[in-house]
């Protein structure tokens, strides 16, 4: 073994890379020059059929399926050709890949519920540069990466409502609370948890968050995590799960342990999933908003943006849906609703 070629190879590899990097620097631009503005930017699409891509955080979640139903129900009337598709896992990079495809394919409007506020920004900005209208719904990106955000409820609103449900139940008593989130890296969950912490610090010093556990998006993991919470933190009297897998799983576990009424369970989830637990009294109140309306509103905003008639501030009137406040690019659906048994029976998403 006289020659140890690969040692040099490694060096050569690094050097070559550097050369390429340096040589490239001067000539690099931020967008391809060949095919920009292919969608004839700035022209109004008024009266024409527009293609809208409605991208959820992930497919296979009733919440988003509900929004899709809402969107589908108004698409035809708005002269919208609607495509609903998203990644199978909560992946920002898969969303970027889809956004790029849809932009290239010539969609007029991209409406996305972002898995991450920043990761999608470059792709969305590039889309806007090409004249594609970008709106976010359900979950926002950084403001400069989209034109409008259809906001079903603010982060603070959700956080404070969730805490309020618990605080109202315990009425000032010292209470230990546990949180069951989806995954440690889920941005929305973490934002809501932060908002909850803030609300507790500001208004409800009697509540104490003892632990945060994760269901990893799996019902069984949610059930066992709840059981572990109950055993490992015997003082915990309330579980908040701002996750639509976590809440039914927590309810299921509490039911199994026979602790209905002893441990208060609430969180964010869809009525259709919660029906059973509300019916048998394990869960009394939980938080959500009208997801169908969210889908409908998003479609209306998409149409208005494409037509160039969307006000950045003021009131956005939608026939049959109502008037919505628009504030600096944020279209507010309304406040989060607290669902009880009656409301649960009323909705089907």
């Amino acid at each position: 073994m006289k020659t140890i070629g690969w040692k040099r190879m490694a060096t050569a590899l690094v050097i070559l890379l550097l050369i390429v990097a340096l040589a490239g620097c001067g000539a690099v631009q931020s967008s391809p020059s060949a095919n920009s503005n292919q969608n004839a930017a700035q022209t109004s699409q008024k009266g024409k059929t527009i293609k809208v891509a409605l991208i959820p955080k992930a497919i296979g979640i009733p919440y988003f399926t509900g929004a899709e139903q809402g969107a589908q129900s108004v698409a035809a009337a708005l002269n919208i050709k609607l495509t609903y598709n998203g990644p199978t896992t909560l992946s920002a990079s898969d969303q970027v890949s889809m956004i790029n495809s849809y932009v290239a394919e010539g969609y007029n409007v991209i409406a996305v519920s972002a898995n991450d506020p920043t990761s999608l920004a470059p792709a969305l900005k590039a889309a806007m540069k090409k004249g594609v209208k970008v709106i976010t719904w359900d979950s926002d990106t950084v403001p400069d990466a989209r034109q409008f955000f259809v906001n079903q409820a603010t982060v603070d609103g959700i956080g404070s409502t969730l805490v309020k449900v618990v605080a109202d139940h315990f009425k000032g008593k010292q209470t230990d609370v546990a949180i069951l989130s989806s995954t440690p890296s889920n941005t929305n969950q973490n934002q809501w948890i932060d908002a909850m912490k803030k609300t507790i610090a500001d208004k409800y010093p009697n509540l104490h968050i003892k632990t945060i556990q994760y269901d990893q998006g799996q019902p069984s993991t949610g059930v066992s995590a709840t059981e572990n919470i109950v055993k490992g933190f015997p003082t915990v009297k309330a579980i908040i799960s701002p996750d639509s897998v976590g809440l039914p799983a927590a309810a299921e576990a509490v039911e199994k342990l026979g602790l209905q009424g002893k441990i208060y369970v609430t969180g964010l989830a869809d009525p259709v999933v919660m029906k059973k637990y509300v019916d048998d009294g394990t869960v009394q109140k939980y938080v959500l908003w009208n997801v169908l309306d969210l889908g409908k509103l998003t479609m209306n905003v998409a149409r208005a943006v494409a037509d160039g008639t969307m006000p950045t501030s003021g009131t956005f009137k939608v026939k049959g849906l109502g008037d919505f406040q628009v504030n600096n690019g944020q279209v507010l659906l309304g406040l989060p609703m607290i669902f009880d048994k009656a409301a649960t029976d009323k909705y089907n998403f």
Binding site: M1, K2, T3, I4, G5, W6, K7, R8, M9, A12
Partner: protein
């Protein structure tokens, strides 16, 4: 009377005829040897008998009735069993389970349940029949090669074995173990079993068999009673010409300064306090039973399996014996015993194999110099007379002897001064064997130091200037050329010499 009779068997693989109209039969109570060079077709013939291959043409009769042996299971049903050259055990299963796999004794309780007690009892009985003591509950992976070989025979004995096929069973065995095996085979023969014995070792063939069938190039050359043949005749029949292991003229060895000096090398329990010197221009043989520690000593010198104490000095410089690389840098080459496991990568080309140890590379960027590579391998093909279609042919397509030459070529390409060969001609046919012996002789004459580890006593007698004998991990004797004989080596190797001394 003939138990198994195969008539006009033909077989070809992808258009190449491997067997042409071969007829062969074996009687109850006889050992029928089947010999021939590699490629003569004997393996194919016994595999057809064992149901591994199916013949293209020809009939097979068993007990006078025509039979179809389509699968190994068919063969087993008839009582035809094969003991292979390399025992192939299931290492994590008990000896008993290995022996009875496929034929578990069972009790019916809704389903068939393995009857472990019966399984152990039955296996113990079988080993009893063989006259062997064996813990049948032990995992087969813990057995020595020889014990595993016995296990293979036991597998056959569980059944009513009518025809026992031994496919080079002694290749991995020491002479002592071989003796034990032959005793068992003779006992079986006396009980009426028909034995087909395939071997390269002619003296074994003569000592064991009643009749001999010689094959060459896919055809049967002759069948005759063993006693009526001489060894020379047999070799002539096999290769189609007169050929014998020629001896070599004595070599001029420079005994002033050893090239390799081994002192006090120990690695219990494999070997202990091994010391010897190896001089330029000599062939030193190392004899001993399998498991006596010869290979371990070689691997220690080469840095594969470091010794715990002792010293290896090459040309006055001590090795730390921890890396193959250092051994290489000191000009040591080791041609290992197991060709397929350690010698050649079968799917790779002859060229890549030959240049593996010392890939010719351009100094810049470590780029392989392909032209040099082709040149080196082409030279090796010529020098060692390797029969191949070209240097790009995958080594797996070559015959065993030629594969062994590729291993040699690989090491010679590195330009070693000290060459250690471990069983260099195992599983190699007679013709190639002679060639390899000439190569070894040539290496020594060029002034290299050669150490040959061999269980093949005639080979040692032909090659060695001196012979070291190991017994149970210790060096028990050194024989000079004039004192070397099969008897003197065996006396030392089996320990009888020590006891009498």
């Amino acid at each position: 009377m003939d138990i198994l009779k195969m008539v006009n068997i033909s077989k070809s693989f992808n258009g190449t005829a491997v067997l042409k109209d071969v007829s062969f039969e074996v009687r109850a109570g006889e050992v029928h040897a089947l010999i021939g060079e590699n490629g003569a077709g004997k393996s194919t013939l016994i595999k057809i008998a064992a149901g591994v291959y199916n013949s293209d043409d020809g009939e097979t009769f068993f007990d006078g009735r025509e039979v179809q042996i389509g699968t190994p299971a068919d063969a087993h049903r008839l009582g035809i069993f094969t003991v292979h050259q390399e025992p192939s055990v299931m290492p994590n299963l008990s000896v008993a389970e290995n022996v009875l796999m496929g034929f578990h004794p069972y009790r019916r309780f809704a389903f068939r349940w393995v009857d472990k007690k019966a399984m152990y009892r039955k296996t113990e009985e079988v080993f009893g029949k063989l006259g062997l003591k064996m813990d049948v509950r032990r995992n087969a992976g813990e057995l020595t090669i020889a014990q595993q070989q016995m296990l293979e025979i036991a597998k056959a004995l569980v059944h009513d074995v009518r025809v026992l096929i031994l496919d080079e069973p002694t290749a991995t065995l020491s002479d002592h173990e071989t003796g034990l095996l032959f005793e068992i085979v003779r006992r079986l023969r006396d009980q009426g079993t028909a034995v087909i014995f395939v071997s390269h070792r002619l003296h074994e063939v003569f000592s064991l068999s009643d009749r001999i069938t010689v094959m060459r190039d896919g055809e049967k050359v002759a069948t005759s009673v063993a006693a009526s043949l001489s060894e020379q005749e047999l070799v002539r029949l096999m290769v189609g010409r007169e050929l014998r292991l020629g001896s070599f003229e004595s070599r001029a060895t420079n005994r002033e300064k050893p090239l390799l000096q081994v002192s006090g090398l120990s690695n219990a329990p494999w070997f202990d306090d091994v010391s010897f010197a190896l001089y330029p221009g000599e062939v030193l043989a190392m004899a001993g039973l399998v498991g006596s520690g010869r290979t371990n000593v070689a691997e220690a010198i080469f840095g594969i399996q470091p010794a715990r104490s002792g010293q290896v000095v090459v040309n006055g410089e001590a090795l730390h014996m921890r890396s193959i690389k250092q051994a290489l840098e000191h000009g040591i080459a080791y041609i290992p015993e197991d060709r397929h496991k350690h010698g050649v990568a079968l799917a790779m080309s002859l060229r890549a194999n030959v240049t593996l140890v010392n890939v010719p590379a351009r100094p810049r960027l470590g780029c392989i110099d392909r032209r040099r590579e082709i040149q080196i391998s082409a030279e090796a093909v010529q020098r060692l007379n390797i029969k191949a279609q070209g240097v790009e042919q995958p080594v797996g397509q070559l015959s065993g002897g030629n594969q062994q030459k590729v291993v040699l070529a690989k090491w010679l390409a590195a330009g070693p001064k000290i060459i250690i060969l471990d069983e260099p001609t195992r599983g190699v046919d007679v013709g190639a064997k002679g060639e390899i012996h000439r190569i070894i002789d040539g290496l020594a004459r060029e002034g290299n130091a050669v150490l040959v580890i061999s269980s093949d006593l005639p080979e040692i007698l032909v090659l060695a200037d001196r012979t070291l004998v190991m017994h149970e991990g210790r060096l028990v004797g050194e024989l000079h050329r004039e004192d070397t004989s099969e008897e003197s080596i065996m006396a030392l190797a089996t320990g009888t010499a020590i006891r009498t001394a």
